[in-house]
Amino acid sequence: MYPRLIHSHEGMVGQEDMQGGSNHGHNNNGDPCLVLTADPKPRLRWTQDLHERFVDAVTQLGGASKATPKAIMRTMNVKGLTLFHLKSHLQKYRLGKQSGKDMIEGCKDAGSYLLESPGTDNSSPKLPASDTNESHEIKEALRRQMEVQSELHLQVEAEKHLQIRQDAEQRYMAMLERACKMLADQFIGATVIDTDNQKFQGHGSKAPRGPFVDTLGFYSLPSTGTTGAVHASGEELPNLHSQRADCSTESCLTSHESPGGLTLEGSPISGANKRMLSLESMAATPLIWSEATMRSQGINVAQGNLHGITRYGM
């Protein structure tokens, strides 16, 4: 897997001493010429010298991110160097730059080069003894490369799963809210049924007092027995149509705190049952109307109170 490689800076012995039966990096007239490996498929060997030229060119062009293979090719002016060579080498250089290439630039490039170039020969390497130093560095480089890739992969996965989870939560919260509202409606409906669906004249006697266990099997506040105030005449509550349930929240909450604070205008409900206008009925009526149920809830709440009476005088 690690065919003959160029030496790192540290392991640099000198061009002449390069192993593997390759050509010299320089010909007689000093121009750099390309060194090809002796593998069955000749590949470019990025010698120290060539690499230095490469780095020079890149820095001239303003850095790894700014330089383009075409420009580098022109700048380097080395015969036989193709865009393909430069593209892949530049990519490796950039990656190397990210993870501190200084130490092992040459080797790293070579290592990853061999991994990434098409048609990499995967024959097992015969590493000469003096190459163990390089091989460590190569392994390091490879490891780092794979780390980066797996991290990226993990991030993509995390994002995907986050989206799935968020969607699940959104769906569920909507479902829960709907279900809860429906139960609330049913409950109030049950109360209506319980009070025989008559014209409710506001007498507390009809209303069950105390902990009220409705047909659905759970408890509610004692006062709620009287929420089933029914106006058989089916009075409309015009303002409540436009009220969002939200708007009534504050008054709902405050009415819960200070149940005596609200007045019911025009309601047949006697004063004794004012407590019924606790949270349930106040918030219930908008819900009921917005659900367009056909119960004739005639709780004629003073619409103005929905705004005015908050605990905090706002």
Binding site: E159, L162, Y172, M173, F218, S278, G313
Partner: protein, 551 residues
């Protein structure tokens, strides 16, 4: 964060307005009380039952006959006595102070404030002299003179004790001088009131709270101000003994809670961080098992199980597992009636849609207190996980109980114990007094409110803030204040002491959290890893901290 249902603070405390309960108090701490006027005795309801697994704790017993004034430390199980509270204030210095001038300076001669510490015939032993907070600066009181000006003490500079985080908060939030002189006063007063609980000066506490009531009328303004308001309310309710009876929530209240929680999760990353990190910790520990049992001590409304079930379903699908089973045993307060039904029905429905099986069981906490994990049904072959939060520890109330509880947890050999801290416990300095507990919480909730403000500034939804504060945060604040008097060791110590060891969360969890933050785009939030916990910070202060532990 579990959705707290607004009406029922998960407090285990009930006011007992008779002396009888005091006599049945089986703890070693409280002595028989005399006929005290203000009789707020906060006891755990399990006090009555002698066959308890977890010994009843007597917390902040405010009605004790005040013998040596500093004896209250015996009431509260303090594990480590820090110097500040054990430093006895030099009482002799006080005796030479002129009572009248003090009262005048304290402005308590106002006719409006009737609740002046008059020598109450019923409380012959209550020290009349106001005891100053244990000050680091005893020199301040040494030169006692008749003209000793108490207003000096109230100004920030002279206060002996340092209020670390709050100084920063007050300065940071209120650079203009309008607020600063007032603001310091308010916070100082609040802390002073809290301190009165420690030193059992309830009348003084009430007086201070009355004063505060006039200045903090509504939760408006800066985060610190609003937080101060809620804390004032909480202290007041503690003093007047109201709000302790947990109420059954009505369905409409629950609807409002759900809506508010939904809005909150859309505005701030805090709720979703909590949910997703917890679920991730669970999933990692359960290794994709298809037979899972989660024992949840703080289920809220069960919203967090939606994404957990979804993940289980996905995993099962990819591994071609047929019908995985998720069992959930939720330990709930007694008043949890409507919620139970709601949670069960909806989780069942959701599971049906996902084509997995779910079984939801509810066990009342009172039952658990007597029977421990015998109250929970276990099945062979399941992998179990335990979810904890500060609420159960508040309920247990003492270090011993916590340790006993954790050893019970270990005995059932769960695959993982996940602790989700959404109340600032993870960074809080050791609570050695009620005041410290209140200060810690005040800091935390101020930061929380600040983050909320910032979140709405970025993403809108400002009209939900009030509701979020009211329905979600205020109950927590109430519970925090009620529990602040309990002296427990820092929870990590107790965990380690019980033999539990933290498990690192994966990088996936990390990435997920960061991705979440990237989506909300609110500057100020960060994800951090501290002590093997994954923490969502607001400006360096931990808002939610999730940790996984193995037994």
């Amino acid at each position: 964060m579990r959705v707290p249902v607004s009406s029922s603070p998960q407090a285990s405390l009930k006011p007992s307005l008779s002396n009888n309960n005091n006599n049945t108090n089986t703890t070693t701490t409280t002595s028989t009380s005399t006929n005290t006027n203000l009789n707020i005795s906060l006891q755990s309801p399990s006090l009555i039952n002698p066959s308890l697994c977890y010994e009843p704790t007597s917390v902040l017993d405010l009605c004790r006959s005040p013998s040596p004034p500093r004896d209250h430390s015996a009431v509260i199980e303090s594990v480590s006595k820090p110097p500040e509270d054990s430093a006895e204030v030099d009482e002799h210095a006080f005796h030479s102070l002129d009572w009248d001038s003090i009262m005048k300076d304290l402005d308590l001669h106002d006719t409006s404030l009737k609740s002046i510490p008059q020598p109450n015939p019923c409380e012959p032993q209550v020290p009349i002299l106001p005891e100053f907070p244990p000050s680091h600066d005893p020199a301040l009181f040494d030169h006692a003179s008749a003209d000793f000006n108490l207003s000096d003490i109230y100004s920030n500079q002279n206060l002996g004790y340092s209020v670390n985080g709050l100084d920063h908060l007050v300065y940071e939030f209120n650079p203009n001088s309008n607020w600063s002189s007032n603001g310091f006063d308010l916070i100082d007063l609040l802390i002073r009131a809290a301190d009165c609980f420690d030193s059992n000066q309830l009348h003084l506490a009430q007086a201070i709270l009355d004063r505060l009531n006039q200045r903090l009328r509504s939760p408006v303004g800066k985060p610190l101000q609003r937080a101060a308001f809620y804390f004032k309310e909480a202290l007041q309710s503690l003093l007047s003994g109201s709000n302790h009876t947990p109420r059954v929530s009505s369905l409409l209240e629950i609807v409002q809670s759900i809506k508010t929680f939904k809005a909150f999760s859309g505005i701030s990353p805090i709720p979703m961080f909590s949910i997703f990190t917890t679920n991730q910790a669970l999933l990692e520990a359960l290794h994709g098992s298809s037979f899972v049992h989660v024992i949840d001590f703080d289920i809220g409304l069960g919203i967090q199980y939606a994404s957990l079930m979804k993940e289980i379903a996905e995993k099962a699908e990819s591994c071609k597992i047929n019908l995985p089973l998720l069992r959930i045993t939720a330990l709930v307060p007694e008043e949890y009636a409507a919620e139970c039904k709601l949670i069960r029905e909806n989780l069942n429905q959701f599971a049906l849609e996902l084509r997995i099986r779910v079984q939801v069981e509810f066990v009342p906490l009172r039952t658990f207190e007597t029977m421990s994990f015998k109250a929970v049904k276990f099945m062979d072959g399941e992998k179990s996980a335990v979810l904890l939060s500060p609420s159960i520890f508040r309920r247990l109330g003492s270090t011993n109980n916590m340790a006993a509880f954790l050893s019970d947890v270990r005995r059932i050999s769960p695959s993982v114990v996940v602790f989700v801290d959404g109340e600032g416990w993870t960074e809080a300095s050791a609570t050695t007094s009620f005041r410290r507990g209140v200060v810690n919480s005040l800091e935390f909730y101020s930061m929380m409110l600040e983050s909320l403000d910032a979140s709405t500034a970025v993403g809108g939804g400002g009209d939900w803030v009030k509701r979020i504060e009211l329905l979600l945060l205020r109950p927590q604040i109430m519970a925090a204040v009620e529990g602040a008097g309990r002296m427990v060791s820092p929870w990590r110590e107790v965990f380690y002491g019980a033999g539990m060891r933290p498990v690192q969360l994966s990088q996936f969890a990390d990435f997920q959290a960061e991705c979440l933050l990237a989506k909300v785009q609110i500057r100020g939030f960060q994800v951090a890893k501290r002590h093997a916990e994954l923490v969502l910070c607001w400006h360096e202060r931990a808002m939610v901290a999730t940790s996984a532990w193995r037994c």
